[in-house]
């Protein structure tokens, strides 16, 4: 059929012939149903074993391009460790069964030791990633065994294990150490007092968002792009062409675990607090203490904005006088009221800044416009700005960024 005839037929069927029109509409809607259904299915990558496994060889000096063809190797378990469970195939399924065996001597011990180190800062075995001959011996072998047995017997219930440790008398001790404790147990190996550990970067950010009341508690969903200084991405991107575009509104205040992560240019405020780059598995994060961290919590818009919103909350709900406001602020950030010293120190700061901001409304206005959240205009400008400096100082206190 010549082309123009076929076009004409097509036109007639789809627009002039009533039954043709109806069929065409039904066809389109059926096709749409199929594509909609396809789109609703989330694609997940999986791995499978090859029907015929590829031959694997010892690599000369470990170099991938230098296989020793005379030394073919096959999967197996080092002889110092227990063998594969009976009947388990020598492939990934067998390995998974072997690792998750209730009686495996390492899995439960390594896992509970890791949970312990997350809570106490150091594992019962201090080399959390090395239980081999070069690793250190446990400080409390009986306790490690008991926890490991308990964990495996509970059906590997992680939440229960955390509760088990957190509700212990050992964890619930005071973190302030006496001179005698410091003398006799300087590294706290014998757990004479509770640990004092700086919070991880994500926790510090989430905590500031939470106490100020701006935290967006939404669970799940795609990653978000909170505030980031300009030019972090394009400075390293191919031909400088990729730009970070921060989100607007509620997405700026999601928990840090939802932050979009670009490995070649990771979030600088989290990197300052030892967040891993996600390029390599990190078992134990360092807890460094640097001037860069001070600059982040003092100057990053995320923290300054949280401080002024926190100040607003304190002014709205913390009572009429400064002392009760400060108590309210300390209850939210440290779970205890402010003592005399803190009241005196922050009253001084508040008074001095109130004087400055009263004399310079422009400065106060600038500070209270930093970040996206609109301030409550009914609050006195200078008071709000002065309280923001107090709030920012509180966010930077050791006792606020430290778990004690």
């Amino acid at each position: 059929m010549p082309v123009h005839i076929s076009k004409l037929c097509d036109y007639y069927e789809k627009s002039q012939w009533p039954l043709g029109r109806e069929l065409d509409a039904r066809m389109k809607s059926a096709e749409k149903a199929v594509t909609d259904y396809d789109k609703s299915i989330v694609t997940v990558m999986t791995m499978g074993d090859l029907a015929k496994p590829r031959k694997t060889y010892v690599l000369a000096r470990g170099h991938y391009a230098s296989p020793k063809k005379e030394e073919e190797i096959s999967p197996g378990i080092p002889t110092v460790l227990p063998p594969l469970p009976e009947g388990a195939p020598a492939k990934r399924l067998g390995l998974a069964k072997w690792i998750a065996d209730d009686d495996h001597p390492l899995t439960a011990r390594v896992a509970v030791n890791r949970y312990w180190s997350m809570i106490f800062g150091a594992g019962l075995v201090t080399t959390v990633s090395d239980f081999g001959t070069r690793g250190s011996l446990p400080s409390h072998p009986g306790l490690l065994d008991w926890l490991a047995r308990d964990f495996a017997d509970s059906g590997w219930n992680v939440k229960r294990m955390f509760k088990q440790i957190l509700l212990s008398a050992t964890y619930r001790q005071q973190s302030a150490a006496t001179t005698e404790q410091l003398h006799r147990d300087p590294e706290n190996v014998f757990l004479s007092h509770a640990p004092r550990l700086r919070l991880q970067g994500e926790f510090i950010r989430d905590n500031a968002l939470a106490v100020s009341g701006v935290l967006n508690g939404k669970i799940g969903g795609p990653s978000v792009k909170p505030y980031q200084p300009p030019r972090i991405w394009n400075e390293v991107a191919l031909n400088g062409g990729l730009f970070y575009k921060p989100d607007k509104g509620a997405k700026l205040y999601r928990r840090s675990m939802y932050t979009y992560w670009k490995r070649s240019a990771p979030m600088p405020n989290m990197m300052a607090f030892d967040a891993p780059t996600r390029e390599k598995c990190v078992i134990q994060r360092p807890l460094t203490n640097t001037p860069m961290q001070a600059l982040v919590t003092m100057n990053d818009v995320q923290f300054v904005e949280a401080a002024r919103v926190f100040a607003q909350r304190v002014l709205q709900k913390g009572g009429a006088d400064f002392d009760s406001q400060l108590d309210y602020a300390f209850m939210l950030t440290t779970a205890r009221p402010a003592d005399e010293l803190r009241k005196r120190v922050f009253r001084n700061l508040y008074d001095s800044q109130l004087k400055e901001f009263s004399a310079d409304a422009t400065r106060a206005g600038e500070l209270l416009k930093f970040g996206e959240t609109k301030r409550d205009e009914s609050l006195n400008l200078a008071q709000h700005a002065a309280w923001t400096t107090v709030a920012s100082a509180i966010f930077n206190l050791d006792e606020v960024i430290t778990k004690e």
Binding site: S264, Q293, L295, R363, A385, L397
Partner: protein, 482 residues
């Protein structure tokens, strides 16, 4: 539970001796470092305490040309090179070697001699390209290495390899290693600073891992200084907070932290108090450092036409000199745009125009100030480029693909032999025929100049005593040392 910790795990004599042989690196030496006390390298806060032996260089300026500068068009000249122009790359040279996917499908591999003139310079008589007149004038000051090599042939693995000692991700960069091992002499500036500039050519991506701390604590990572806005991220006070307000806020933080220390006796609090003070000092010292107003006009003349333009390589070179002067022990400049797959003659010339005068000026400037003798200058990229043309070879144009089997770098200053050319490539600048220098050998040599034995400078991670120079072995190139 099945017993795990039996007597086999107790440290027996043999294991104990092994531990000793591994050197101190494995034992978590941070506890030996004494903040405040200077080590033999004039620094403090390093995990090693003192370097292994007396260092020849106290500081390093690393000029990294990212993208793969063409050694053929810049440094690796031989009078016979013109003869290969236009001929097909012989199989006797290529030997079936792997090349990148960008040219592996080419039907023809026509060799291209450099489209630039070369002349001999200085007492050493080394050849330099006409597009590097200023660097050429340093011929008698430096060691030119024409036999650097790497296994990597693509940017990401190659640039990670030379900067961290391995193609795998997650290892510390050279600057982070040094920051960790030796510490810094500076109290109010970071021990490792990075700056980035971009040329006119296509720029390959960089990655923060190139100055990252890998498995070392993150405080050892390079701090990136920036040409506009805040010189260091988060350095500026928020709008409305001036320096007086900042001081008042800091004083209140300090008073409460001191009370907390008295209550808990937690030494971390004292460190935190000191770090907040350091942050305050940085807010003053960094802008002072990055403000070039106090530089006299003749300095700008020395560094050339771009020297007053923030963000340019020349500007960064002046900043680098100021940082070295202020005690920063490791400064690394990344200049992008060296990936000449096409338009090689034009774009290599452009790139050289950007870097030639400022690079030479930096060396001369350091020399004038008496700093060159203990400052190590390292200059080069992640690999070189092919002798054959990528794409068509015309009368005045061609491209070059990546080439890792040989490329050129140079070093000068602290501990480095003067007026010396090391290594030799074949007639096609394709394979090394004499004195190869693997990038890990080069890094071992850098550590040597800083007083470090690269084999003893280790950190235990994932069951290995990791080194900057990898665990596969590297050698210090003694011929390069003064």
């Amino acid at each position: 539970m099945i017993p795990l910790f039996n007597s086999d795990h107790l440290l027996d004599r043999r294991k104990f001796l092994n531990l000793g042989a591994r050197g101190m690196g494995a034992l978590g030496l941070a506890s030996l470092a004494q903040p405040g006390l200077l080590n033999a390298a004039g620094r403090h806060g390093g995990a090693l305490g003192d370097p292994h032996f007396t260092p020849k260089a106290k500081r390093v300026i690393y000029l990294f040309f990212s993208g793969g500068p063409s050694h053929i068009d810049m440094y690796d000249y031989k009078p016979g090179i013109r003869k290969v122009h236009g001929i097909e790359l012989p199989e006797s040279i290529r030997k079936g070697q792997r090349i990148t996917g960008m040219t592996s499908g080419q039907k023809s591999f026509p060799c291209v001699a450099p489209m630039f003139e070369f002349k001999q310079h200085g007492q050493s008589g080394a050849y330099y390209s006409e597009i590097l007149p200023h660097i050429a004038s340093l011929a008698d000051e430096m060691s030119l290495i024409r036999s650097v090599n790497t296994e990597a042939i693509n940017h990401d693995p190659a640039i990670t390899y030379i900067n961290t000692g391995t193609q795998q991700l997650g290892h510390p960069s050279m600057g982070a290693w040094l920051n960790y091992g030796l510490g810094s002499p500076s109290d109010n500036l970071p021990g490792y600073i990075v700056m980035i500039s971009k040329g006119r050519g296509g720029s390959q991506a960089l990655y923060s891992r190139l100055w990252g701390s890998g498995f070392l604590p993150s405080k050892h990572q390079g701090v990136k200084f920036r040409s506009s806005g805040e010189p260091v991220l988060f350095l500026n006070n928020p709008p409305g907070i001036n320096r007086n307000s900042r001081r008042a806020i800091l004083d209140s933080i300090k008073a409460v932290n001191e009370a907390k220390f008295a209550e808990t006796r937690d030494a971390e609090i004292q460190t935190r108090i000191a770090q907040y003070e350091m942050a305050f000092r940085m807010q003053a010292s960094v802008p002072e450092l990055t403000d070039l107003k106090s530089e006299p006009e003749h300095v700008f003349d020395l560094y050339g036409k771009d020297s007053k333009k923030p963000g340019k390589y020349a500007y960064n070179c002046i900043l680098a000199r100021r940082m070295l002067e202020s005690g920063v022990p490791f400064v690394q400049l990344f200049h992008r745009g060296w990936d000449q797959h096409g338009n090689c003659p034009r774009d290599v010339r452009y790139q050289c125009e950007d870097v030639d005068q400022p690079t030479a000026a930096l060396v001369k400037d350091l020399k004038q100030r008496g700093m060159l003798e203990d400052t190590l200058v390292v200059c080069g990229g992640e690999f070189g480029r092919t002798i054959y043309s990528q794409g068509a070879l015309t009368k005045d144009n061609h491209g070059r693909d990546h080439h890792g089997r040989c490329f050129s770098m140079w070093m000068a200053g602290g501990g480095i032999r003067k007026g010396y050319v090391h290594g030799e490539t074949d007639d096609f600048c394709y394979n090394i025929v004499r004195d190869p220098v693997h990038i890990n050998d080069l890094n071992a040599t850098v550590l040597q100049c800083l007083g470090l034995d690269h084999e003893r400078f280790t950190y235990r991670y994932q069951g290995l005593d990791q080194r900057l120079t990898s665990v596969q072995g590297a050698r210090v190139v003694n011929e390069l040392l003064a």
